[in-house]
Amino acid sequence: MTGTPPTAGTPTPRRTVSIAAPVGEGAIDSFVRQKGRGVILALYTALRSIKLYPLENSAVQKALADLAALAQEFVASEHELDVRVSGEFIFVNATRLRLDLDNYASFSHVLSVFRVCGIGTMHVADVVTARDWQVFLTIVQVPTSLEPHDRLTEVLAKLDAAGVRTLALTPPSDDDGEDRERAKERAKKTYTQSVTVTKDLMTSVRMGKSPNIKKIKRVVQGIVDQILNEETSLIGLTTIRDYDEYTFTHSVNVCIFSVALGKRLGLTKLQLYDLGMAALFHDIGKSRVPVDVLNKTGSLTEIEWRQIAAHPWLGVLALFQIRGTQEYPYRSMVVAIEHHMKADLTGYPKPIRPRQMSMYSKIVAAADGFDAATSRRAYQTVPINPAEVMREMRDNPRRGMDPIVVKAFINLTGIYPPGTLVVLDTFELGIVHAVNPLPEMLARPLTRVISDPMGNLVHPGEIVDLADRNPDGTYLRTIIKTENPERYGIRVSDYFV
């Protein structure tokens, strides 16, 4: 039972088959996941030590020995070791390994090495000695200007010449490309359904009715699944700026950013769900603010400002309408009241009883601040450049954001967040597509080139990695500055939808 994509003029079919969140979490960490993580970390350690020290150094020898032992243990238990990279994920024996705080830099490095060498899968069915690992890891770290496909051919030839036959390397499968397209379509569906359900939610609250909590739960579960599967597409959709539906798209965007950030911080699936619910509800208090005040374009009177500033506590009261048969959404209430309080509690509303701002409030505050500043609203007809917003969040303590959360947020979006229009030193224009998976390349995102050096705008344009280098080691492209898309008649979201 597969879904059919919507075509112009035809009603969108009601049902499509989706794939559930991939098996991965569960209360018990499986052997494969635990040991798989160990193997990848050992790979990373060996890669780094080979890069930093001579081969005969004891640190290198120990790292190689550890890697060989771990891999051997794995193969002895599971009969094979199959490491596959796909998008931003690493799969070990078809089990996806999650990135979390403890390992994301290491995993990202291994991912990038595999990607540069055109390795889609590394298969081990036999004993791989420390010497074999040493040869392999040395070869893959030699600088190259070859394309990944050619690079893999070169790596295989070198391994064969060195007599290493225990590692089977294959390129990425074509399925990966199809997977990405499917993921993109799913992201779009998730996004639009989320906005629709959020609109229903806030309309119900405004009318004093009880909203459909089941739909809301399913929407947040869908966002969590999407972020866990493939976050790039969904984050890209946050560039959709619908002026009229701002409140609803904003709530969804904050939910997406918050869940993505939470994933980066290592929250479990259920914790991400809690965070997502709180983020989706953070501005629900605006349902109790008169619409004409919310949408006023001119400056607000004292009374009107107080009405808007009341939305955090109004949100708490509104959330008491949402219960169903389970407990009240207490966590969401805390985030609703705290998200404008600032980390030092000097924001609004001022607490009377002792309080320490919750972590989820800090996350939502960062996501909220970013999305609000980069959106066009009734009183902010020109949105602020995302990179400038990021800089402001980072550099201005008066914003009241937790600096470590902001740091993590920048890790998520990059210095130039998705949707930023950039001018490249090649006289091209680009739209930042996604953060670079290499942690040290936060300022060199994956970028969609949307104009040629002659100024012709193109759609959709090619996605390039700004970390790519020329044979002489210099970067192929570098961001010179960020720009306002409207100056060039560009609607950023057209490149994400």
């Binding site: 979490e25 494969v32 607490p351 091209e428 720009e483």
Partner: protein
């Protein structure tokens, strides 16, 4: 193990080549149906239940010999494996396994090796919850998602969410400049850099690496998030809003929310949260600006309302019936916030509580409340409810509340036997001069047990005020008709109090003979011996020695005992 990266095969109609015979799959599904039924009907410790679970677990073994995982597809009435029906249940009811999965959108479930060890029971619990769920409660998809399985995957059709229009930016598309204009603008930007140009050499990406301290901070913050008391936090928020906002409709809404919340928290035994509501309600009444009498009445009266007999009875009843009990501290915290008037209700409930642990919890909590409210405690001694009166007397005694003596004495004078017995015990425990004085009359009580208890208490506390009455009783005819225990109690007390003044009488009883040469009744003589033992001293000893060779066993034993123990303090 393989990942479900491809969409499932279209349609279920065609049968595919089977990787192994369907027998084990069919057998497993029969066991699944039985396990679901067992989970509905039996408790986990029931042998039938355990047998059903074990059988289902064993049912997976033959399948794992052929494959690491297997997928089942669901239609309205069938479960299919590789296109072949392996379970058919025609009725579309909550008892039908295919329908249960199908109706909520699940179309395929894949079980992986290991599922039966750790996740089987979780699935059965979900199916059971689903049977009892109301239409607006969570459906199977939501529950499966929350269960977060490691060895089970599923595909579904999202029936609950409507199709939405395609995502697109709002507003009219912007006007695009000509290529030459774009080129010129880009060149101008490059050649004439402005303030917002980033200097790449200055930028250090390592600024954004989270170091170990920062990682620790984030982990601790996440732990704190989940250790925090969310309900308490929300209660504090509500009271903050109440204090900030003076609009009557806002305060009314919050008052209503607090009342509803209180009921919910009581039902769930979150007593420390309820205690917090009660204490903060008093704070807010003092502190909130512009609070009207009606508002004060509503929010300020929360402790009083919970202390009223009916709501408090509900609380105690709920506690008695609950499987999940609060800690002592939590319950004590709540009870201390109640009004003193709640003591009466608590006392009346104590004897009715079935759960021993609950009774212990409530008793201890009540002790704390009583300690702080002795006035109310004393008042309850005169309560018309005899259970309450008994409890109040008992606790007054425990607290040695002097103010309780007078009302207890009244009970002694007018209550029923059980009450009078309790009064004697209480006065005895209080032990003050006034209490013992009030106890004196009790040695003449119509009830034997009351008399005995009273005289023992007075004797053990050496209350000389009762000597006159004792003397009269000991020498009177009524005691001679009493049983040995009563006689003994009186003589012991007499002995403890009379000193050498009582020697002639006691010696006369023990060793004397009547005009006709007959001795006194052996029981009386034994009592006299014991009393002489209490008197102590040389003369008492001599009197006892004279009787030591007595033939009568009762007398002889008493004499020997008295000689051994001897002394007024024995």
């Amino acid at each position: 193990m393989t990942l479900p990266t491809a969409t499932p095969p279209a349609g279920d109609t065609g049968q595919q080549e089977l990787p192994f015979p369907p027998g084990p799959i069919e057998a497993l599904l029969q066991l699944f149906v039985k396990a679901v039924r067992a989970h509905q009907l039996y408790m986990p410790n029931n042998p039938v239940y355990k047998g059903a679970i074990d059988a289902m677990r064993a049912g997976f073994a033959p399948i794992w010999q052929h494959a690491e995982e297997f997928a089942l597809r669901f239609t309205e009435t069938e479960i299919r494996w590789h296109g072949r029906p392996v379970l058919v249940e025609a009725s579309k009811s909550s008892d039908s396994l295919p329908w249960t999965f199908f109706k909520d959108g699940v179309r395929e479930v894949t079980f992986a090796k290991g599922f039966e060890e750790t996740e089987l029971v979780k699935l059965l619990e979900i199916l059971q919850r689903l049977r009892k769920a109301a239409p607006d409660e969570d459906d199977l998809l939501t529950m499966l998602w929350e269960a977060d399985y490691a060895f089970l995957r599923y595909r579904y059709v999202d029936l609950g969410v409507e199709a939405a229009p395609p995502a697109q930016d709002g507003g009219a598309p912007p006007e695009k400049p000509a290529a030459e204009q774009v080129q010129a603008s880009v060149r101008a930007q490059i050649e004439d850099p402005r303030a917002d140009v980033v200097n790449m050499q200055d930028f250090d990406a390592t600024l954004y690496f989270l170091d170990e301290k920062e990682l620790d901070y984030l982990r601790r913050e996440i732990d704190r998030e989940y250790q925090s008391d969310l309900r308490g936090n929300v209660i504090a928020i509500l009271f903050d809003i109440y204090e900030h906002q003076t609009a009557p409709e806002v305060r009314e809404e919050i008052s209503e929310l607090l009342e509803t919340l209180m009921l919910l928290l009581l039902s769930a035994n979150h007593f420390s949260n309820v205690a917090y509501i009660l204490s903060e309600s008093q704070v807010v009444v003092r502190r909130a600006a512009d609070i009207t009498p009606e508002q004060r009445g509503r929010v300020g009266m929360l402790p009083e309302r919970l202390s009223a007999p009916q709501p408090l009875s509900q609380l105690l009843q709920g506690l008695d019936e609950s499987a999940d009990l609060p800690s002592q501290n939590e319950l004590t915290e709540l009870v201390q916030r109640l009004q003193p008037a709640s003591l009466g209700t608590i006392f009346s409930w104590l004897p009715k509580l079935q759960n021993q642990r609950v009774r212990a919890l409530v008793q201890q909590a009540a002790d704390r409340l009583a300690t702080g409210n002795t006035g109310e405690l004393v008042r309850l001694i005169s309560a018309p409810d005899r259970g309450v009166a008994m409890e109040a007397m008992r606790r007054s005694a425990g607290l040695k509340t002097q103010a309780g003596v007078v009302p207890i004495a009244r009970v002694l004078a007018g209550g029923d036997v059980e009450l009078r017995q309790a009064a004697v015990a209480a006065l005895s425990e209080i032990g003050s001069g006034g209490a013992l004085q009030a106890l004196e009359r009790a040695i003449e009580d119509p009830d034997r047990d009351v008399r005995v208890a009273a005289v023992r208490a007075l004797g053990s506390r050496s209350h000389h005020g009762v000597l006159g009455r004792l003397d009269a009783t000991v020498k009177g005819k009524a005691l001679r008709a009493a049983d040995l225990t009563e006689k003994m109690a009186f003589f012991e007390a007499f002995g403890a109090l009379c000193g050498e003044a009582g020697l002639p009488y006691l010696d006369g009883l023990l060793n004397g003979k009547s005009m006709f040469g007959r001795r006194e009744d052996p029981e009386l003589r034994a009592c006299a011996a014991i009393a002489l033992g209490k008197v102590g001293g040389r003369k008492a000893q001599e009197s006892l020695q004279r009787a030591s060779g007595q033939k009568d066993v009762v007398v002889r034993n008493a004499v020997n005992r008295a000689l051994r123990t001897g002394g007024p303090n024995s």
